[in-house]
């Protein structure tokens, strides 16, 4: 049995004792995020949109008593506050509120799915490229350069023609462009983390590459993913709405905020609210995503402290 080695108590720095209730980077970051009122408000709004999207069928059943494709040809272009149609109806007499509720599913579903896919691919590529360096890095980063050099709108149009757009395929199409920038950012961060002593020290403990990448590198670049992911969400929502508007994304009868805009632009001069509702929602969703993204960046980016 080995006896404990002598400890000179006076040499134990007081700072360490003070740090007893010490908080981690994550606790501090979340604390900063909580104190950011605009960030919390926009995060709350995003959460509200997500909950609405998830509960769309229930909300429709409870409040509007109709579904998004039921037509009421006797009651077309009903203005807002019409009994039974709180936000009015469109050219086919479909209830606008119901369609907006279901439209949230498209925007939020594709938004979050595309962000997840882009983060996963981007993180994997960035980690591998940055960790191994050399030829692997060169090949992967040149591939990223190629992806980023193609005009995205051209790629979206091409892919929409090749693959029939639905929620999942559209998310993949949008993510197929977005991962490139993430991979670059992650790689840059990995290059700086990789050269820190603890990576060699951990290798000296006998850790394998996979463990070093997943257990040691990934947590050190996670803040990049969180920050970029939350800022990227707004751009995905906007891109998706634009594709729907151009008829390259989700197409009627499935309602989305983007294709509702397309449909209603014809009637802009006598039924402005038909343009207004989806337009305002797209605006609010993107604004909330961007403001929340900024708040997350302020809270998590170690360089801003």
């Amino acid at each position: 049995m080995i006896t404990p080695l002598p400890v000179d108590e006076p040499h134990v720095p007081t700072a360490v004792v003070v740090g007893q209730g010490g908080r981690t980077y994550w606790q501090e970051a979340f604390g900063r995020l909580r104190r950011n009122r605009i960030g919390i408000a926009s995060g709350g709004l995003l959460l509200f949109f997500v909950l609405v999207a998830l509960a769309a069928p229930l909300l429709a059943a409870a409040f509007t008593h109709t579904d998004y494709s039921t037509q009421d040809l006797a009651n077309t272009f009903a203005p807002p506050l019409t009994p039974g149609h709180i936000l009015g109806t469109d050219d086919l007499g479909r209830d606008t509120l119901t369609r907006l509720l279901f439209g949230a599913r498209v925007s939020m579903g594709i938004g979050f799915l595309a962000v997840m896919v882009a983060l996963t691919i981007g993180a994997a590529v960035g980690l591998v490229a940055g960790y191994y360096g050399g030829l692997i890095d060169g090949l992967l980063m040149r591939f990223v350069d190629i992806i980023l050099a193609i005009p995205p709108i051209f790629l979206f149009i091409l892919m929409s023609i090749l693959f029939k757009p639905n929620t999942i395929s559209l998310a993949l199409i949008i993510a197929s462009v977005g991962w490139g920038s993430i991979a670059r950012l992650v790689r840059g961060e990995v290059l700086s983390v990789r050269s820190r002593d603890f990576m060699v020290a951990t290798r000296a403990l006998g850790a394998r590459d996979v463990r070093l990448i997943v257990r040691h590198l990934l947590p050190n670049v996670l803040h990049v993913l969180i920050v970029f992911g939350s800022l990227y969400l707004g751009s995905v929502i906007l891109t998706e709405a634009a594709l729907d508007f151009l008829g390259l994304g989700i197409t009627p009868p499935t309602p989305s905020w983007g294709n509702m805009l397309t449909n209603s632009q014809t009637y802009f001069f006598h039924s402005r609210w038909l343009v207004g509702w989806p337009g305002v929602l797209i605006f609010l969703a993107v604004l909330a995503a961007n403001l929340f993204g900024n708040a997350v960046r302020d809270a998590f980016d170690p360089r801003l402290r």
């Binding site: 700072a15 002593d197 603890f198 020290a201 403990l205 006998g206 850790a207």
Partner: protein, 330 residues
């Protein structure tokens, strides 16, 4: 007596750079016996750290081990596959690094990191490794280790982090501990504590220690044997007492006269070694030290001396002392 624990034969490590090949380690041979403490001293760029990293096969690219053998437990470490080497690192040979401030991963609790070798090599669960880590932290003198194990590295002071690094190296009770300038980044009182800890570890765990330092005082206090490196080669080795009392290589001799000592005459001046360390890409011909050596003879410029026995206990790579000349003030 059994053979040495670790035998290094003619180890050569080189870095290919656009400017040329840097011969960072150029034919180093030494032995490490079980339980002993070997000091490796030399100035910056003499190849001490690269030697240590070569033993662990952790040379960063574009560095490469180009020759020689590292025999441990009957196996040549330079020939092992990467996955076999991963089984050696942290299990049989552990290493602690110079800068404890950056050698711990900032995002993990200290206890988790200290226990990591057990998860890697003993397949211990996270919880079990964590509790083992607490007991090792206690052994390296971390007060209230159960609480400290839940702290993050930034809660630790430099000295505590170095203790944690040592604990991390010790969890698997390795046979060899390589300490690469473990006290360089610490202030002097903490240095003394960490050296005391390393001494205790060596005594109580029976871990053979390779202590790399540029501090001759540390070597004098810690090591039974010492090896002096210059320009990627071993220029002298032997029992610390003998090397310090009667250096057999002019470099060691000059090094010892360049540092202050308590028993010096009151007005005796320190004598720096004239000149600069050589360029490792373009080494001087013959003995790499000859341009700075006050004893150099013609042969030193032509032929590279081998490390040979000089005196009863020492080895030195010097034509002058091998010929029997005593090193004295001119």
């Amino acid at each position: 007596m059994p053979g040495p624990l670790l035998e290094v034969h003619d180890l050569k490590t080189q870095f290919s750079t656009p400017e040329g090949v840097v011969k960072a380690v150029d034919g180093v041979s030494f032995e490490l016996n079980a339980g002993e403490t070997l000091g490796i001293v030399g100035e910056s760029g003499s190849g001490k750290s690269v030697t240590a990293l070569s033993l662990m096969r952790l040379i960063p690219p574009p560095g490469r081990i180009v020759g020689g053998r590292v025999l441990y437990d009957g196996r040549d470490l330079t020939k092992l596959s990467e996955s076999e080497m991963q089984g050696i690192r942290g299990e049989s040979i552990a290493m602690i690094f110079q800068d404890p401030m950056t050698s711990l991963n900032p995002v993990f609790k200290v206890g988790w990191q200290v226990g990591e070798p057990l998860m890697l090599h003993r397949a211990e669960s996270k919880a079990k490794a964590f509790s083992s880590a607490i007991s090792v932290l206690a052994k390296v003198g971390i007060p209230s280790p159960a609480d400290r194990a839940r702290d993050y590295p930034h809660h630790f002071s430099g000295g505590m982090r170095q203790r944690a690094m040592i604990a991390m190296g010790l969890t698997t009770t390795p046979k060899v501990l390589i300490a690469d300038e473990p006290t360089t980044a610490l202030d002097v009182t903490i240095q003394a504590q960490i050296l005391e800890l390393l001494r205790n570890v060596n005594r109580e765990f029976g871990t053979a220690t390779i202590l790399i330092t540029h501090n001759l005082g540390v070597v004098a206090g810690m090591c039974e044997r010492v090896m002096v490196m210059y320009a990627g080669r071993v220029v002298e080795s032997g029992p610390t007492v003998d090397v310090f009392a009667h250096p057999k290589h002019p470099y060691t001799w000059s090094l010892l006269r360049s540092i202050p000592r308590l028993d010096a005459e009151r007005h005796e001046a320190l004598r720096p070694i004239e000149g600069l360390p050589p360029d490792l890409i373009d080494l001087p011909s013959g003995c790499a030290f000859h341009p700075r050596c006050t004893f150099a003879i013609d042969r030193c410029k032509r032929d590279t001396p081998a490390l040979n026995r000089v005196g009863d206990t020492q080895l030195a790579a010097c034509w002058v002392t091998q010929a029997g000349t005593e090193l004295r003030d001119a």
